[in-house]
């Protein structure tokens, strides 16, 4: 649910509509509901994964992108430093 309002059974009134009150009903939590306990279950699963990969596919993608950028960049860096360290031609 997060920031989305609860889905009503009848057709929803537009936020600025005058036919229904525009104030949130008292049962709606302010700015989204608390789903920390769900996340706690996810990250406490005994799957043997380290914390930086425990979120699944998005974690793997981010990790691989960071690794590629860093390793590739380091190779580029070493080549650039090697070239820069050559004496200037007369």
């Amino acid at each position: 649910q997060g920031l989305k309002p609860l889905v009503p059974t009848e057709s929803p009134a537009p936020i600025f509509g005058t036919s229904k009150p525009s104030v949130l009903p008292a049962t709606e939590p302010f700015l989204g509901k608390n789903n920390v306990s769900d996340l706690q279950k996810v990250f406490q699963r005994s799957d043997g994964l380290p914390v930086h990969l425990k979120g699944g596919v998005p974690d793997r993608m981010l990790y691989r992108t960071t690794m590629a950028l860093t390793i590739g960049g380091t190779i580029y860096c070493l080549v650039a430093l090697y070239i820069a360290s050559q004496p200037k031609n007369k």
């Binding site: 700015l31 789903n35 706690q40 990250f43 914390v51 960049g73």
Partner: protein, 261 residues
């Protein structure tokens, strides 16, 4: 299943420390390639990889604490020591630039016309935008304290309002300072006045941006219910850092902006 007989946190193996070090190598070598060979690619890769490492490292710390419960009181104590030591090191960093300012301004050389501000320099009016910026940062110190008390009293709405105001004040300061930089009648290349002014206020501005970002992350975590009324050290660390940034500005204002004009 084995359990540890102590209250410290033995972290999972992580790639971020070494990748962070590599990112620092790319950023610094990249600066050299940019300055001397006019090639920006390496510094861009360096800054990007630094950002990615920071994002994932701090994301993992949130997972370890809020979702896995590893931040016992013992661990929290260590984090408090760590943040205090870090802010102390930053204080020494700024001390160096204040030293440089006083070195040049207390005994202005004949090349400057024997005066401070030097001949030809039109300093900014300290009673203009700089005074407004002082008011903004002082107000933000009040709002961040209001936010802290609201968190401790479990007043969610008030805490969100107060922290949002704090972040907005921070960005307002940055916007005004950027405008001041653009409109200033002198530049960093204008002798030692320009150097001391822009390096000291420039590093301060960078710290305002860092602090505002830290507070913004805390606001997002606050909205997502990560903080409890007893345990919210991430927020406290951000608030300490923010007060430090405020104090540095007060010193900058009194010395460089006011005495130095």
């Amino acid at each position: 299943m084995t359990h540890q007989a102590h209250s410290y946190h033995m972290v999972d193996p992580s790639p971020w420390p070494i990748l962070g070090a590599a990112a620092a190598l790319l950023t610094t070598s990249g600066l050299a390639m940019w300055f001397h060979y006019n090639s920006p690619y390496l510094v861009i890769i360096g800054l990007l990889s630094t950002a990615l490492v920071m994002l994932q490292w701090w994301r993992d710390i949130i997972r370890e604490s809020t979702f896995q419960g590893h931040h016992t009181p013992t661990v929290q104590k260590g984090l408090r020591y760590g943040m205090v030591l870090f802010i102390t090191s930053e204080a020494f960093f700024f001390l160096g630039f204040f030293w440089a300012f006083f070195h040049s301004s207390l005994a202005p050389t004949p090349e400057l016309g024997g005066q401070w501000p030097p001949v030809g320099i039109q300093p900014l009016d300290p009673m203009d935008v700089p005074l407004l910026n002082t008011a903004i940062l002082l107000a933000s110190g009040v709002t961040v304290t209001w936010a802290h008390h609201s968190i401790m009293e479990a007043s969610r709405k008030q805490a969100v309002h107060a922290l949002t105001l704090t972040v907005l004040l921070g960005f307002y300061f940055t916007g005004l300072q950027a405008m001041e930089y653009y409109e200033a009648p002198f530049s960093i290349a204008d002798g030692v006045y320009g150097s001391t002014f822009f390096v000291a206020t420039g590093f301060h501005g960078l710290h305002v941006i860092i602090g505002s970002t830290f507070l913004l992350v805390c606001l997002l975590r606050l909205i997502k219910y990560h903080f409890t009324s007893n345990h919210h050290f991430g927020f406290e660390a951000a608030a300490w850092y923010w007060h430090f940034v405020d104090v540095v500005w007060l010193f900058l204002y009194m010395t460089i902006y006011w005495w130095g004009s």
